[in-house]
Each structure stands twice: as structure tokens, then as C-alpha cells.
Amino acid sequence: MNAPPLAYLDNAATTRCDPRVAEEVERFLLEEYGNPSSVHPLGVRAARALREARETLARCLEAEPAGVVFTSGGTEADNLAVLGFARAGHGRHLVVGATEHPAVLEAAKALGAEGFETSVVPVDRGGRLEAAAVAGACRPDTAVVAVMMANNEVGTIAPVAEIARAVRAAAPRAAFHVDAVQAFGKVPVSIRACGADSLALSSHKIHGPKGVGALVLAPGRRPSPLFHGGGQEGNLRSGTENVPGIVGFARAASLAAEGVATEAARWRRLRERLARGLAESSPGVVLNGDAERCVPTILSATFPGVPGEALLHHLETRGVFVSTGAACHSKRGGSHVLLACGLPEEAVRSTLRFSFGRFTTEADVDRAVEAVPPLVSELRALAR
């Protein structure tokens, strides 16, 4: 096989499973298929694999193994934290960032029916949340504060440790939840360093299988469960454990955590290369987010006067796959993230997101840099 014909630059939507992970998943589908609750050797071995996976995750995030609750993915982890801590908490008030993932925003909205109020904290033009602003939104009855560590559309990193300190001072009884889905594997993530009560993680964003994630809890913190049943996952997530997914997730997590330092440097070079290439060859391009404080895997670029959807589909005919906004809601209206960053609607519709993963190469970036400018001028000429 020669060079792949496809420059897949949509890794923030999902990633290709690492073959080393896939191998592990396959083994647990075909050979080690026991139920961890069974008492025969197959079950016992599954329980052991589950325990080891939990320990691996805990090690990666500087957490206690008992604090790792495996879920069906990032959305469930966010829901478990927001709904679970809200229902277990003392107050009737929530604080969330304006650029949170819908898993957090919609969960908070759903709590409206249970009498909760939500304060939404605005971000600056770079998409950055200020600790003081978060603390300022807290009230004595704040039950949950939820912020994302790295934004999924613009890549901006929030000062979570600083926010944690400010929140502790302003609302000592509130649970502080951090959505680390896009940050994990791109920058070092530790629940201790974050000062968080919980972290949401997803496997398929780090070259693991889809359908698995985790909510990592600080010692002693316990949300109310969403599912009731057999009492698995410390009674926080009933249901037979997705052992192949969990084992694959743990393998993906340790690969991601191991490689984060070297990979981050490589991604920074790729991001720099893409940013420079786009800026040089496509006049008028605007890079969104906060270049100083971002994950190195996401680049959001606005091409004024060019409909993003049209550019995206023209790029796909050149073998370059990107996205407008986030994949999970790119089919609905404008991006709430870019709007929250203060972009006018027209700019939002002219924005593409390029995102990297482990398998992204310089050649992929070059392919995008070559393909974009002629298409931008072609589409701009049409728009005139």
C-alpha cells in the first residue's frame, strides 16, 4: 500500500482506532468474553482485566482506581456528573461555561424541569473562560460548576486549576466538574492538578473504540446514579461492563498518556505548519481561538466570504476531510461556540475546523494547505 489517499483532519470528531488497541478489543470479544460478575475462570479473568483497566485509567489521571466509573462515553460521563451531582447536592443552581459541549448544556437545561437555575459564563474572543467570571457566577446554593478543559471547536484551554480555586472560595459546597474529553491525550491531565471533583473522558477521541468513556471522581465524591440495576461500577453505573471497550479504552489511554509529550511537540509543529500555510496562501483567513493557550490538535479558521459547507465538500473531493464546527451538531444551525466567541453569524458559516490525531502526518497538512487556497478563490469568485 502506498500513501493513503485521504487526509483525515477531523480527529476532534473521532479518531481511527489504534491497531494495538483494536487487537486488544478483539481478544476480549473473541476469547476473553466473560462477564466480570461470573465466578468461573472466564468471569474472574474479565473482572481482573476490568480492575487493571481501572488502575490504568487511575494512573493516567492521578486518580484513585475506585474513583473511575466507566460509562458509554463522554456524553454519559458529563450527564452523570451534571445530573448526578446536582441531584445529590444541596443547592438548586448550576454554573456552566458558554462554550460547553451540548452534553453539559442540555443536561443543565433538562434540570430546569427539576427546579434548577443555570448561569452561563461568557468567554472572551479567544474562547477563554476567566476564573473570576466563573467564581462571580457562583451563589451560596450553587450545586455544580461545569467547565471544559479544552474546547472541541476552537481548542482553547481553560485555566481549570485557577477556576477550581476560585470556585472553592466562592462556593465551597459546589461540585466542580471538568469535561476533559478533548484535552486528554493532547495535554497532561490530572484530576489532582485540575482540582476537580470529576473529569469526563471519552475513548474514541484518543484512538480507542467508540461507546466507552469514564467519569473519574475525586476521593469521596459521589453523584447520584443515572442507571439502576445490578450495582456495577460501585453502584454508579449499573449494567454489565463493556469489557472489550473498557480494556481498549485503557490501552488507548495509556498510549495517549505515554506519548503526550512527544506527540504534543509534533502536533504543535503541524499546527504551526497548517496555520502558516493557510495564512500565506489564503488571503483574509482568520484563525480563531487562543493561539497561546490551546490544544495543539485543533485549528479553527474562518475564510471570509466562503460558505464553510461548500468549502468542506469541495475539500472532500480532494481527499481532505474536515468539519464545520463540531461533528455532533454540525448539522444544526450555527456553532454556539463560535457565536459565544463573538464571531458574527456570517463568519461562523465560513469557518472550518482542522483537527489532528496520532496518524496525522505532514503530508496530510500539506495536502490541506495545497487544496484550500485554490478552492477558496474559486468559491470567492462565485460569491462576488
Binding site: P5, L6, Y8, P307, A310
Partner: protein
Amino acid sequence: MERGTSGAGATGECLVVRYAEIGLKGGNRRYFEERLQRNIRDALASTAPARVGRAWGRLLVFPEGDPAPALARLGEVFGVASVSPAVGTEKDLAEMEAVAERLVGAALARRTAAEPVPFRVEAHRGDKRFPMNSVEVNRRLGASLLAKFPRLKVDLDHATLTLGVDVRDEAAYLYVDRLEGPGGLPVGASGRVLSLISGGIDSPVAAWLAMKRGCRVHFVTFHSYPFIGEATKEKVKDVVRRLSRYQGPTLLLVAPFAAIQTEIRKGCPEPYRTVLYRRMMNRVAVRLARRHRCLALVTGDSIGQVASQTLENLRCAEDASDLPVLRPLLSYDKRETIALAERIGTFGISIRPAEDCCTLFQPDHPVIRGDPEVCRQVETEIDFERLVEDAAASCEAVRLAEGKPDRVLAPGAIVPSPPTPDPENPASRAAAGSARPLAPEDLV
């Protein structure tokens, strides 16, 4: 007009299917009946196989299993005026009485209140050799039912429970319920039409109404790839697949439209763009209609609903079609169209978000009262014959049916496909879903 059954069994559970309008079609009657018979057989084939026979101006359906799914399915077959679940028995009064008691007993058990039930028996005697005439049958069965069920009160004018009895050559058929069918004419009885369909709410409803009047409907959709994505095409396919339940496997043509929109965008006055797109769609559609022997086009236009649907602009569009353009929704309010879309099951698909028309091609101020003369004039700026020719020649053609895999008849020539899947790269495999391997020119 009396006729025996053809191929239908006689006794046991069956469905009596009545048709309304096709009974009026004089010399064509046999043709319509056979069409309906075939349509019912096809409609039931996959979910509830049944024998379907024609008898005395009705159809008799004998399901192989439970009649309930067959009954539900018949509610989606055009030409069916009403259906009664029935029981066929030997023409023996004692047996008929037993069946009548069972049917009426069950019907009474479904009524909760213990009030008197106004009731009548309505017998027809097709078999004149049967020793009792219809009045006698009414009286005998009525008497035995009244004796058995004291709740029944004979009331010929205001009956809420009617026992129907058809005495025929091969058997007697008894039934109590009568369910409304969708009416209309059997699909195929009126000929073929080509429906212009988008991802919107209206065009599927218009196509469904054409089917209701006996048209077999082919579909064409205009796809401006790569200005809008494959997802929009998939949505149209989902709509057509859903509509296929009313007429069986259905042909969808996907006409590439990017080149046409680009040329109009570049060469023609902005306010006229939308009207000109419609004219070009009609031209391509007419060409495809001729190729597929369709006698008319069908659109979802409703007078005055949007700028392109003023009378003037409808005239501009029609001016570019030398086939009749049927507009079943002409007089429908949006509310009425939505209600129908919900009923036929396309609404949920139509409101799924998908890119519609690229903003590059939309005019800021579309003309409200277009003039066909102006259209013809400005079209001299583009080589529209060639554009129409190219679009019609490079359509993707696919046959769609609910619950079955798509059958690609022609992969389409100009619309670029996503890149070839790379076996080493699962991501690319997920992204590529096209019928045609990628040609080198697609990637340069």
C-alpha cells in the same frame, strides 16, 4: 355483474376488500381490478403473504398467517375503499349462525357500556341457488342473534353494529367491522409521472397524492455536489424509500446540478436565479421523463407559498417544460401539507437538518413576478442545451424499497464520489460509500 372467485380459497379468516372508483371505470374495470389485485399481492408479499382473489366486484384476501398485519398494510394500498375482516363458511344456516354469534359476540365484548346496541343484518345473495333470499337470511340470522344477545336492538336506520353476509357460489362471508382504506386509484392505473423531489416537506406529499390518483411515480432530485454534501442526498433517499411503501420499489434519479447553478450564478441577473434554476430543473426533468416514459412532471408547488411559487414564477417555470406540470398541493396550506406529511410518514425525515441550497447560489432579492420573456432572454447567456444534456446524461439511478438494500442501476458520471477506501485506513473506509470507484480526475 357476477363473477366467481379466481384463485381464492373459500372458507376461513379472510379480508373483504372493496374498491370504489374503479367500479366506475366501465370498459377498463377488469384492468383496474387486476392492477389492484397485483398491487395488493405485492404490498403483502414481504410482510404478510396472502392469496388474493377477485370475486363479485370485490377482492378477497386470504392471509397465510395472522390477518392483522395484512389488514394494516391494506390501509396503505391505493384503490382500497374499505376492508372488512371476514369469515368464510359453508353455506349452511347452522354454520352461518355459529359464525355470526362468534363475530357479534366479539364485537359486543369490545363495547364497554352495557347499553342496548342498535343492530341490523345486511345480507346479499349472489348465489341464486341458495334456498333463502336475502330477506330470509336477515330474518333468520337476526332472530338467532337476538335470542343469544339481549343487548341487541334491531334498528335498520341507526344501527351501530351491522352484520354483513355475502352468500356466494363457493361460500358465505360474514363480517361486522368495516375499516376505511386510503381510496384513490391503484398505483399504475393512470400511467407514469416524474416527481421533482427535494429534502423538503412538500414534494414527498405531492408525489404521494399523485400515487393516490393511480400514478406510478419516478423521482428526480437535483444535487449540487460538492456545494452541498452527500447527507442531503441520503435524506432524499430516505424519503423515497418511505414513499416506496405506497407503490413498491421506486426509481430515484439524482441529477448533478452544480454546473448548472454555477453557470447561472456567473452569467445571469441575480433576481432571476431561482426562477432560472427551476426552469433548468424542468428541462432536465422533461428529458429524463421522456427517457423513462413518464407523461407528466409533479412538483410540490403551492400558490404563493414562497417567492418562486407566485403565479408569475410558476408560469416562468412551466414555460420551460413541454410536459404538463402537475401540482397536487396547489391549493394546500402549509398546515394541511404538514398534516399529510405526518400521516404518510415523511415529515420526520423531511425536518431532519441537512444542507438545502448553498448560500452562494441564493439570491438576496429574488424576483417575485418573473417574466418568461426575460427568462428566455437571459438564458442566451448560458449554453443551457449542453448543460441540460450533461445533467440528464450523468444521473445516478438507484432503485429503492423499504427494508431492502438499494439497487444501483447507474452510478452517475459527473458527481464526484468520496475517495476510494484505503484498506489500511478505517477512517477512509467509513467515509467512502459510493457506488463508483474514484476516477483519477476526481482527485485533481
